[in-house]
């Protein structure tokens, strides 16, 4: 079974998984980062409290997060078709992945920003800083290590979700694992995909932690 076709298939699977994971996380941040910032600043302890805005985003985040990914994947097929023109394959999987990742990322951004010392924000306000300046130079800059840890967690979670895309023919390692391991009883190929997934998560986790530590200036 270790012929070229299998190796090529695994390589392509790895490529597809990485493609889905990276693109989905990237777009997840495109939507999730602003959403997280708005959640953090509109909360009643935030720098511009707005209960209506907070409650709406809070509700949206909770609703999406309570739908199991497998169901979401099927549920958003019409949207997927609208955005990418088809409902199967790696690129099509990115759409539900982004929808699932956005509120998750927003929550992590929100919690990272809420960890920033209130006193620092107060100091910036006392200097006459404009709200965007406070967000950019105080909140995001001070929370950067925590935000990076969040990116690492998001990558791992999206990678896990992307494996489920195999169910709808989404491509990637998860797809291979399900086709060979579940439908054809070829446990060895399934195990191999798991090994590759573990290695990928390890690398992401390791790099993320290294980077966040390197960028942290809070230690002596």
């Amino acid at each position: 079974m270790w012929d070229n076709t299998v190796i090529t298939m695994l390589l392509e699977g790895t490529r597809d998984t990485l493609y889905m994971t990276l693109m989905s996380t990237l777009f997840g941040y495109v939507f999730g980062l602003p959403m997280g910032i708005i959640l953090a600043i509109t909360d009643k302890e935030g720098i511009c409290p707005n209960m209506v805005a907070y409650k709406i985003l809070d509700f949206v985040a909770n609703v999406i997060r309570s739908i199991p990914f497998l169901i979401l994947l099927i549920l958003v097929i019409p949207i997927t078709k609208l955005v990418v023109g088809k409902s199967y394959g790696s690129t099509a999987t990115i759409v539900p992945l982004v929808i699932a990742a956005t509120p998750f990322i927003a929550r992590m951004v929100e919690s990272s920003l809420k960890e920033v010392d209130k006193g620092v924000i107060e100091a910036a306000q006392s200097m006459g800083a404009f709200i965007p300046t406070i967000i950019w130079k105080a909140l995001l800059a001070e929370a950067r290590t925590s935000l990076l840890v969040g990116v690492t967690i998001a990558l791992g979670t999206v990678l896990g979700y992307s494996a489920m895309a195999g169910v709808v023919g989404g491509g990637g390692l998860g797809d291979i694992a399900i086709r060979y391991g579940y439908y054809r009883y070829q446990t060895d190929i399934m195990l191999l995909t798991i090994v590759i997934l573990v290695v990928l998560v390890q690398i992401m986790q390791g790099l993320g932690m290294l980077l966040s530590k390197k960028l942290d200036r809070r230690r002596r």
Binding site: G119, A124, Q125, S126, M127, G128, T133, K137, A141, R220
Partner: protein, 263 residues
């Protein structure tokens, strides 16, 4: 002459879960330009709330705050931000940006004010030398002692050339020796630049050391105000008496401890 700070019928009420809290109740006072004005009181007396009302970090429930004759309560967001650049503030916990080095911390208010990078750096360096930290420009706050952090905060606050400096328990996290050096620094700033300083503290020695005037706060109310000499030699309100007499007791006690150490 128009006082630089005038507080009129100032009240602040918090609606806490446990009920209504009257943190500051109908307070009136004036501070003349160049004064070092102390506000003392036990913890919970409303000192921090009061000082936060002076730059509207806390919006008063009622009353007015005039800075150089202009009412902060009437200002637009833009005007208020501009006025705040003229009112520096330092804090008990320093509130430095932990991810920025010392020099960039001092540059922060200049960035906010839109000063060019190069110019800002030069000014920041000059100020760091002024507070005795010229050699720490590249260090990060986590590498500094409490006293050094407060010096950075002072350099930072001076960057915009403020006319007013608010100090919220600025020495309360520091040991007596460091407190002394920070107070000396504040005093020299007051003398050199003519900056009006408002000092919030529960430590009587801070008031005795540097203040010209003092106000005693008790349960959100102004119990007494006057020159430091008047209030300390002849306290009239019971709140002032408690604070000042207790403090003398403590001085006697710590005096004995010091003598004991020497002996």
């Amino acid at each position: 002459m128009e006082p630089i700070i005038r507080v009129e019928n100032l009240s602040k009420v918090f609606d806490a879960k446990s009920g209504r809290v009257d943190a500051v109740r109908n307070i009136n006072f004036e501070i003349a330009k160049g004064d070092i004005f102390g506000i003392i009181g036990l913890s919970g007396a409303g000192k921090s709330t009061l000082v936060r009302c002076l730059n509207l970090l806390e919006r008063p429930t009622s009353g007015n705050v005039y800075i150089k004759g202009k009412n902060l309560m009437d200002m637009s967001g833009k005007e208020l931000r501009k006025t705040r650049r003229n009112i520096g503030m330092i804090f008990q916990n320093f509130n430095l940006l932990m991810q920025r080095n010392v020099l960039d911390n001092v540059c922060f208010p200049l960035e906010i004010a839109g000063v060019k990078r190069k110019e800002a750096k030069e000014r920041a360096m000059e100020l760091l030398k002024k507070v005795g930290l010229g050699d720490k420009a590249a260090s990060y706050p986590a590498q500094l002692s409490g006293g050094q952090k407060q010096r950075v905060a002072i350099a930072r606050v001076l960057a915009n050339n403020p006319e007013i400096l608010l100090c919220d328990e600025a020495t309360s996290a520091l040991d007596p020796q460091t407190t002394k050096s920070i107070l000396n620094l504040l005093k020299s700033i007051n003398e050199e630049y003519g900056i009006t300083i408002v000092v919030i503290t529960h430590e009587m020695r801070v008031v005795k050391n540097i203040c010209s005037h003092v106000a005693v706060l008790n349960h959100g109310k102004l119990a007494e105000k006057g020159t430091v000499k008047e209030v300390f030699t002849n306290p009239k309100s019971s709140a002032a008496k408690v604070l000042i007499l207790n403090d003398e007791e403590q001085d006697k006690f710590s005096g004995e401890v010091y003598e004991g150490n020497v002996g």
